[in-house]
Amino acid sequence: MAEQFFVHEFDNGLTLLGQRMEQVSSAALTVALPGGASRDPDELAGAASVAAHWLLRGAGGRDTRQLNDALDCLGCRHSESAHAEHLVLSAGLLGMNLSAALAIYADILRRPQLADETFPACRDLVAQDLEGLEDEPMRMCNLLIREKFYPHPLGRSPLGSRATLEAMTADAIRRHLERELTPRGTLMAVAGRFEWPELVDVVAENFGDWTGPGMEAVVPAAPADGVTHITKSTAQVQITLAYPAARIQQEQYYAGRVAQMVLSGGMSSRLFTEVREKRALVYAVIAHYHNIKDHAGMFVYAGTTPERAQQTLEVTVGELRRLTEGVGADELARAKAKLKSALIMQGESTAARADALVGDWYHLGRLRGLEELSAAVEAVTVDDVVAYARAFPAEGFTVLTIGPEPLDTSVLN
């Protein structure tokens, strides 16, 4: 069954994306505003996260409680968060309540109250989240490795720093939001149960006369690669490594995704087999792909007790490098099977599809159907994967470790 994709570009720069799914009664809404953590001015690092809270503190004629209650009453499960390049508002609800929810989101995006008295609590919640990172080394490691890997400020932690949060004022965030709350470059995706002509009308009615400036691009600095260790008396040492990967716009992208699956696609993948199954060095070892508009990386994580950390690092890096030596036909077949079936299963989830629509449009300016994706994965050969591994070798690592002692990272050179 071919997907039912829809696109409508409004004159004010807002793009509405849709995927109608016959078999469901729910709908998922994802609104991605241009900006996000990477567009926070340096002195306001953390602004997007604070804004994510503040936007829900009253909008239109409703105060905080009335606004949240209105969404709750629609059975709308909502969340707001700062991503690297977008401020993202997501909602999951029944399709029949979509129009009513969109009217409320118009208030949130166009008529937020942003009142002085609700600001300090929003800033405090982000500050508390930042403090909480110290107690959760795995989360800390996976957040901070992006900051180290991507050119500044593209990978910046959305939580900012103690100093920027303390100095942040309501006025400064309001001024920042004047640029961020804009239809220009905003993507709104709906997946699930809806009628497209009706949806376009409802969005036109609520957002058609929305105006706002475009966001200027940021000029990133060179990435600060290298090795960082954070000393902490944790039970496990957290090890994260990152190195460049093909961007989604590049020809070798699909070979890269297959390569990642060979490394870490399932329990028969190389990292799981060599690091966990054979040597029992870890409970968790994983390689995942992450990308922003102009950069992409392979991010590798392993957590292990201190006395086994050095060996874990060495075995892990050995596996990453061994990819250039070749890939078995059976490994390739498994990696492809996993990728293809994951695509089909994600196709059953409205939330996953709404996010995918946003990702495709942002990175490629078009929506990829299941057929195109399957064909692209199917076309990857053993030679393609090896060529990929040579073009994007496991070297020039950015490394972040957290634990009682630093590791000897000479093996990475």
Binding site: T64, D72, L74, R77, E131, M267, S268, E277, Y283, E348
Partner: protein
């Protein structure tokens, strides 16, 4: 959507919710066993055994198992709780027979000594991993305290000491005591071919030998008391409040679940407005956990150490007020709509339906279609909620704090 069921002569139940319009299917073996069925000497064996099921059978090596799942492009894993161990996989329809053969074979594991010793190290790493997660540490110790002297107080992971001391023979003995087909339900959801499913189940599992495998279900004491675990390495204060609640077999579980939503959902709840909106706590939520013959409400607060006492006082006041007044009609309506929307969205995925259908059967020996669940949710009245929170007194709770503070208040 059609429900199917059968039972093998050895007592193993086979059920399925067939949805011909789904793109995939999910299959799970639900075994009615967990840490509550262990003793001191074997603490953690249920979870360790769950890992060992992936380490090979007479016919398959550990790598064979992983390889076959991956060849099917399966999304698969297993989990162990206080009272259930579930092995599951989601696959495309063409792999129904193959995934069933694989899962069934796994459940008759070889338990080789060498694999046992290797996997023991992975379990010890997992225990270390959770030591770096304060919310999990708090949950485990709060359960131990609230259910002190009751099997539900047992840790799922066990301890470094119990796992280190565990021998392969202990695990074999546990397997022989708990993994009777009478304790196993095979569940299918999504695009299941029922006849082939039932036939394959019979072919793969009929030789499993049946024996009596009862579970001890002593009544639990009311819990209570206050404790503090001071840990100067932590920066935040974590406070858990646990009290009794209707059990999984009790029809009042719908009212209990809605009570927890009104009181402590992550958005729009009493605790959200009283604690999170003003940033007194970063997190303040209440959940309802239905268990076999027991149940629990659990509230978790995460705060600055300096504001933990204040946050706890406010939370206690909200619990007491809720007990006295119950929800307003508007609060209940919002909670119902959130719950109905959540179960609908979860039910759209075969994996989401798998646990719902499976646990309906495990705990209540019934099948309830999604629509009927929603009807029950929508039928709950404010009076029913008031009745539940009066009988199960939210204010008579076990309280435990973890963090830098030496004292609770």
């Amino acid at each position: 959507m059609e429900f199917k069921q059968t039972q093998l002569p050895n007592g193993l139940k086979v059920i399925a919710e067939v949805n011909p319009s789904a793109a995939s299917l999910a299959v799970g073996f639900f075994v009615r066993t967990g840490s509550r069925d262990e003793d001191d000497r074997t603490a953690g064996v249920s979870h360790f055994l769950e890992h060992m099921m992936f380490k090979g059978t007479e016919r398959r090596s550990a790598f064979d198992i992983n390889r076959e799942f991956d060849e099917m492009g399966a999304s698969y894993n297993a989990f162990t709780s206080e009272e259930n161990t579930v092995y599951y996989a989601a696959v495309l329809p063409e792999f129904q027979a193959r995934v069933l053969d694989l899962l069934a074979d796994m459940l008759r594991p070889a338990l080789r000594e060498e694999d046992f010793q290797t996997e023991k190290k992975v379990i010890l790493e997992e225990i270390a991993l959770y030591q770096d997660r304060p919310q999990y540490r708090l949950y485990e110790k709060l359960m131990a305290r609230h259910f002190a002297g009751h099997p539900l107080g047992r840790s799922v992971l066990g301890t470094r000491e119990s796992i280190t001391a565990l021998r392969r023979e202990d695990m074999l003995a546990y397997f022989d005591r708990r993994y009777s087909p009478s304790n196993v339900t095979l569940v299918g959801t999504g695009r299941i071919d029922w006849e082939a499913f039932a036939d394959k189940a019979a072919a793969a599992c009929s030789h499993w030998e049946a024996f009596e495998a009862p579970r001890a279900r002593p009544p639990a004491d009311a819990g209570g008391g206050v404790g503090v675990m001071a840990d100067g390495r932590l920066g935040r204060q974590y406070v858990g409040i646990m009290s009794r609640a209707p059990c999984a077999q009790d029809e009042r579980r719908y009212a209990a679940s809605l009570a927890a939503t009104v009181l402590g959902d992550v958005t729009g709840s009493r605790l959200f407005y009283a604690l999170v909106a003003p940033a007194i706590a970063e997190e303040a939520d209440c959940g309802y956990e239905p268990l076999d013959g027991e149940g629990a409400f659990m509230t978790l607060l995460v705060t600055d150490p300096g504001r933990a006492g204040e946050a706890l006082e406010i939370a206690r006041k909200e619990l007491a007020r809720f007990r006295a007044e119950g929800p307003t009609e508007a609060e209940l309506t919002a909670a119902k709509n959130k719950a109905a929307s959540a179960v609908t969205r979860k039910g759209e995925l075969p994996m989401g339906r798998l646990t719902a259908v499976g646990f309906d059967w495990i705990y209540r020996q019934t099948y309830r279609p999604l629509g009927e669940h929603i009807d029950r949710i929508l039928a709950v009245t404010t009076d029913e909620i008031v009745e539940v929170v009066r009988e199960y007194d939210l204010t008579s709770a076990t309280i435990l704090a973890l963090g830098p503070n030496e004292k609770l208040l």
